[in-house]
Symmetry: C2
Subunit: 441 residues, 2 copies
Amino acid sequence: MVKQDFTITTYEVRDIRFPTSQHLDGSDAMNKDPDYSAAYVIFYTDDKQVEGHGMTFTCGRGTEVCCSAIDALAGKFINKKLSELIVDMRATHRICTGDSQLRWIGPEKGAIHLATAAVINAIWDLWAKAEGKPLWKLVVDLTPEQFVQAIDFRYITDAITPEEAIELLKQNEAGKAAREAEMREKGYPAYTTSAGWLGYSDDKVRRLCREAKEQGFTHFKQKVGGDKASDIRRAQLIREEIGDEGVLMMDANQVWDVKEAITWMEDLLQFKPHFIEEPTSPDDVLGHAAIRKALYPRTRVATGEHIQNRIIFKQLFQAEAIDFCQIDSCRVAGVNEILSILLMARKFNIPVVPHAGGVGLCEYVQHLSLIDYICVSATTEGRILEFVDHLHEHFLDPVVMKNGKYMTPLAPGYSIQMKRESIEDYTFPEGKVHKELAASK
Amino acid sequence: MVKQDFTITTYEVRDIRFPTSQHLDGSDAMNKDPDYSAAYVIFYTDDKQVEGHGMTFTCGRGTEVCCSAIDALAGKFINKKLSELIVDMRATHRICTGDSQLRWIGPEKGAIHLATAAVINAIWDLWAKAEGKPLWKLVVDLTPEQFVQAIDFRYITDAITPEEAIELLKQNEAGKAAREAEMREKGYPAYTTSAGWLGYSDDKVRRLCREAKEQGFTHFKQKVGGDKASDIRRAQLIREEIGDEGVLMMDANQVWDVKEAITWMEDLLQFKPHFIEEPTSPDDVLGHAAIRKALYPRTRVATGEHIQNRIIFKQLFQAEAIDFCQIDSCRVAGVNEILSILLMARKFNIPVVPHAGGVGLCEYVQHLSLIDYICVSATTEGRILEFVDHLHEHFLDPVVMKNGKYMTPLAPGYSIQMKRESIEDYTFPEGKVHKELAASK
């Protein structure tokens, strides 16, 4: 069943924090001072050469809570053989989400679900390494039946059934090889969020816009929702830099109530925003639907990085609440649940535009967009992958960008393995970097 | 502002677990083997006599995750004076929910929100003790303006504004004293879940039904969703015991998908269930609306114990998805958020029927139903408070039941303070009870 088999012998959990708040990288109206962090897990095996790595992205404080949740889950995999786990990936996913006691603190949401992503992604990383393939290739090589067998359809059968899902995948079988070849040659188109953080000065925003244009980017994202006059001033200067042909996206990071989102955006429509991202609470399906109804087609609605699971995504699709589906590789329970969301997005004809940035998210999502293109949606129309140029240097196989595109990753695994030195130095609070920071205060 | 003022000096967090899974108390189709547990916090003050106690209910494994989350929050209250905290309870609530880094692992959901409930409820407990009042009395004595000042209206202003909320409360001012006197005399009506657990034998169910009837209960709850033939058999025998005049409620604990819920309930309608509780995922607003549309008025839909926050409740009301609002005292962020849900339920004319059981939930919710009756809904019509007769012996001021009613609590505080001996004996894993259990295995 699997090229090489391993038994998981032990695991290690690390609380890894990068002190990014010192430079206001990643600052927006809601997340004012994130320290990009990772609740990180390593599964060790009886083959000393091969480890499964996974992480969930966090913002500093609270990483320890996710680490505690990983501890509650990872032990369940000790002494399991990889071949046992992958023979029924739906059951493997449910080892985490179906624990009759742990589900009380979710179910399938918040800290325990973020932790599940780390654990499940580490199992997929291990599987991909065992096959000697990058994760995306492992998945696109699955038969439609195997692909669907990885998905927990609980609570989504009113939107999509396993039979429908298999049918959708079969429709795309013919063109798969050609699309894979195209991706290997050209890569997946990206946009940049690096320029538009709220904490940056106007001059820095202008400079970053120019640099991004020179690098081949055509889509740019601006953070909004702090102060309206400042939003307008900044939208104007970004438009000046990127011209009418540049695509300007706006992101409010959940700061508005429903009516406020509508009136605030009315004043920003003059700058022709492609979409407004996270206009309100990620839990508010009906609120997103109301905002979209008021603003469409003058602008469009996007959300996803805080959408807790497939059940909320299902409703966003059913309620016609969003125009873009911004899946997050850590927010939902890893690869399995992502596959279910890709399929629903395909059925409802909503483009998948993954969330990235932070630490590790770019490394993860490049695989997900490749899976979407090669086997699920079979198109890149309206689809573009977020890129933020932070912290890639800590990974063994970091993303490679060329002319505003993600170059298709080729190394075996899920691209998420951090360098050992980075793991040690940034472990909180005892790593070298944090000791030095504490001493300097 | 406050009768006695204190400064919070330190706090203690405990992981307290009762090994209830040994007897299948609390077993249902989803929660097969809960060990009723509490992530427990104590705020100590400069007055050695007065402590603020709070807890969040959990099911065993995962309690340590909530304890880690409490640790992340409770430290924020050290060196704060009670008078500073209560002068703006909305701001105090936001100390927990608005942390710019911690909110990533929610926001306002899952482990961090359960932890917030423990912390915020401990602050209310401290305040009530400082005033020498039971929690319900502290709240009903607030002016409408003070009551509303405790609420975070973020994300719910499209359903209710502060001005509307004040208006609703003012409408009820006149009758408050009479309703309070009535409650002090007669208590609040209850129903029992003790009889219907899935893990009990038919004979035990019959016996418990008879005992409950003799104790004055008129409403009975049956767990369903495990095996349909067994659900039918049990519904029949409970009906035999409670007669046509008894009210039979059914609870599926989230086991069904949307269409399955409808078809399964079609076969149980012959037993005239008052409502079906948790027919599907608590995250599925549109799913509940579809189920209600199919079954109403042959039966009604109830949910709440797993509804993560006021934003999902808002949508359940807006979508006409439920007939009964089953708030949980720990699932949402404590008293403040509960007040917002009571007000929305009042505005949408949905009766509040709190969830209780587990450990500590009965002690908590009796206060909430009193607040609902005395100042918010001003009626008990269609309202009834869950009661489960487990684990009350561990509390200093346990609930008192008479003739199927909760007797109104009179001791200062939120009734949630556990006996010191229980805290020590049941602390996991080092308490006496757990050491003995481990040794006996």
